[in-house]
């Protein structure tokens, strides 16, 4: 159903530098990052604010370009793509989940889920089928016609996850996905990530400053001052239990 790359390297970044400004006032948000993420991994990018983790996520998500260094996404060199090319690739290959509720308020849940596939030029039948499947997968198939203001924070975030996975991306990027949620909803979201990672083999990278969130993943990469200072597997992994009906 969701067509993921099975096996192989999803993220292969070497010597990534992102510099803001020039000369004396230049600030390096990230300064020489090497990172390899295999297909099927679930990784937490952790660090205090200002450590460069959000900048790294934006580069990995093709929302920003590195000043220096190379980045291969699923085997393709994407560090020097044009704006149009990266937009096209972003729509098909990468799913985003953000901290705030980033649904478009005027669109129903299913329309929101269809949106990336509109820009990726999927046929409308294909769009509808994938959106329905995806909503079922996050357990909100019956909420298709609701607008964001008729959803709880946790439900809205699950709709956003359904939107991120519907086109069948190689990589799911989540920026503080539980940051705006209460504990129970946050647990549901993490359980959903673990389920997507487990059942579909979806590669997931979560940016967070919360160690508890980190412990739900399989690997923690720590950043400070724009560099990686730690990279270790998670020994004491927490397997989240759903408190609501999730999954098909």
């Amino acid at each position: 159903m969701l067509n993921n790359v099975q096996g192989g390297v999803v993220i292969d970044a070497k010597g990534l530098i992102r510099q803001h400004g020039n000369g004396q006032s230049a600030v390096k948000a990230i300064n020489g990052i090497d990172l390899v993420v295999q297909s099927g991994e679930m990784v937490a990018l952790m660090g205090p604010s200002g450590s460069g983790k959000s900048t790294l996520m934006q580069i990995l998500g093709l929302l920003d370009r590195p000043s220096q260094g190379s980045y291969h996404l699923a085997g393709k060199d994407v560090s020097r793509l044009s704006k149009g090319e990266s937009a096209a690739l972003r729509g098909r290959r990468i799913g985003f989940v953000f901290q705030g509720i980033h649904l478009l308020p005027r669109l129903t849940a299913i329309r929101n889920v269809e949106l990336p596939m509109v820009y990726a030029r999927f046929s409308s039948a294909e769009r509808r089928r994938r959106a329905e499947d995806s909503l079922d997968r996050v357990g909100l198939g019956t909420f298709a016609g609701r607008r964001p203001n008729q959803l709880s924070g946790g439900q809205a975030q699950r709709i956003a996850i359904a939107r991120a996975v519907a086109p069948g991306p190689d990589l799911l990027l989540a920026d503080e996905p539980t940051g705006a949620l209460d504990r129970a909803s946050g647990r549901d979201v993490l359980a959903l990530f673990q389920q997507l990672n487990q059942e579909l083999g979806l590669t997931i990278v979560i940016v967070t400053h919360d160690p508890l969130v980190g412990r739900h993943t399989k690997r923690i990469v720590e950043l400070e001052d724009g560099r990686i200072i730690g990279d270790r597997p998670v020994e004491d992994r927490i397997l989240a239990q759903n408190t609501s009906e999730v999954g098909a």
């Binding site: 934006q58 998500g61 929302l63 920003d64 704006k83 149009g84 937009a87 096209a88 972003r90 729509g91 098909r92 985003f96 953000f98 705030g100 980033h102 478009l104 005027r106 329309r111 269809e114 949106l115 990336p116 509109v118 820009y119 990726a120 939107r163």
Partner: protein
């Protein structure tokens, strides 16, 4: 889910703001379309009036010597500023030609004398001295009696002014100054550009001239035998008058020249007024640009989300451009609608046919789309060039 449904949705979700924004375009399009429709209406009405006459009339008017050929407004000042040297002798000389191109010759003299009944004078009436040929040339219709060469013919309003709503006025007496004259005919009410006749009193030309002690007449009206013989009539009349007036103090104009002059003037006025109206369209366009810039700023986050989800710059550009064009089109459509109502009402009141033409609708739609594109491009470009990372940072 295409750009236009997104645009419609966005316009609908800010109904009041959209309505106020579109109002500028509504007023602009309304003004432009109404003015052009009225201009076209007046113009076709005037042409229609001239068709009733046929184009066979030629008017001889006094003119300043030397300016004969280039008189700026031929015939617009009959007996006006230029002192006339035309006489009844000129009329006779033209008649005496017996030219096959000339059907009728009639003198026309404005008689500056009061007209009234035994009960007193009436104001607001003009007295014209002429002969029987004049009534035929100008195609005047009698409701009763006729012009018999000695009696007086009253225009329909002149009859009311002199005698109230009494009937059977033939045989009644009117006074031109102190000279008593017998009413011999009443004209039917006339409409349109000849409606001035209604306020006129027609007297035999010699009687009129004698009453005020004048020798000169105001105009000579010559009717050609057909449309084709007009030019021949003009040269015959000019030839005879050149002999009699070596200083060239007259001008000969065809009625069709009046039409050309009137239409030129009308279209100049219409273009000028439409130009003024187009300024309001410009102001409306700036209003759209202003609101679209606000909209783009407000929707940084939406733009960021769409871009993160794979929207290309072009997708965002089209989305915002569609919104401004749709807004302008909406305003344009309402403007044309209002204009259709307004020109209909004004036309009814003023008594000429004026409706919104296909041309003016095309003009309005073209204007609206143009304004939407021109003033929408800047905000749309700004939206499309937004970096997604930057746009998402705006909470």
């Amino acid at each position: 889910m295409n750009a236009f449904t997104i645009a419609l949705d966005s316009i609908w979700s800010h109904r009041l703001r959209s309505a106020l924004t579109a109002l500028g375009i509504v007023i602009g399009v309304f003004a432009v379309v109404t003015l052009t429709s009225l201009g076209a209406g007046v113009s076709s009405y005037v042409s229609g009036q001239f068709k009733v006459f046929g184009a066979t009339l030629v008017t001889v008017s006094p003119a300043t010597p030397g300016q004969t050929a280039r008189h700026p407004h031929p015939g617009f000042s009959p007996g006006g500023n230029v002192p006339s040297t035309l006489t009844l002798g000129d009329v006779s000389a033209i008649s005496a030609l017996h030219s096959p191109a000339i059907a009728r010759v009639a003198p026309m003299a404005v008689i500056p004398a009061p007209i009234g009944t035994s009960l007193g004078q009436s104001s607001g009436l003009s007295v014209i001295g002429t002969n029987a040929a004049y009534f035929l040339a100008e195609q005047m219709k009698f409701s009763g009696g006729r012009f018999n060469g000695t009696g007086v013919v009253l225009g329909s309003k002149a009859a009311v002014a002199l005698f109230g709503h009494q009937k059977h006025l033939e045989g009644r007496t009117v006074y031109l100054g102190k000279t008593p004259l017998v009413v011999s005919g009443i004209l039917k009410a006339s409409t349109g550009i000849t409606s001035a006749e209604n306020n006129m009193v027609f007297v035999p030309v010699t009687t009129g001239l004698n009453a005020v002690g004048l020798k000169n007449i105001s105009q000579i009206v010559v009717q050609a035998t057909s449309d084709q013989s007009v030019n021949q009539a003009v040269s015959a009349v000019t030839g005879v008058l050149n002999h009699r007036h070596p200083v060239h103090d007259f001008s000969v104009t065809k009625d069709t020249q009046f039409l050309t002059t009137i239409n030129k003037t009308l279209s100049t006025i219409t273009i000028f007024l439409s130009g003024l109206a187009a300024i309001s369209l410009l102001v409306g366009g700036i209003g759209i640009m202003n609101i679209m810039l606000v909209t783009v700023t407000e929707r940084f986050r939406e733009i960021g989300i769409r871009k993160a989800l794979g929207a290309r710059d072009g997708d965002i550009l089209v989305q915002f451009l569609a919104e401004s064009v749709l807004l302008a089109l909406l305003g344009g459509a309402i403007g044309v609608g209002l204009s259709a109502i307004a020109s209909h009402v004004i036309g009814k009141l003023a008594g000429f046919p004026a409706g919104v033409t296909v041309g003016s609708i095309v003009l309005a739609i073209g204007f609206s789309v143009g304004v939407g594109i021109v003033f929408g491009v800047l905000p749309a470009l700004r939206a499309s060039r937004l970096m997604p990372a930057e746009a998402l940072r705006t909470e």
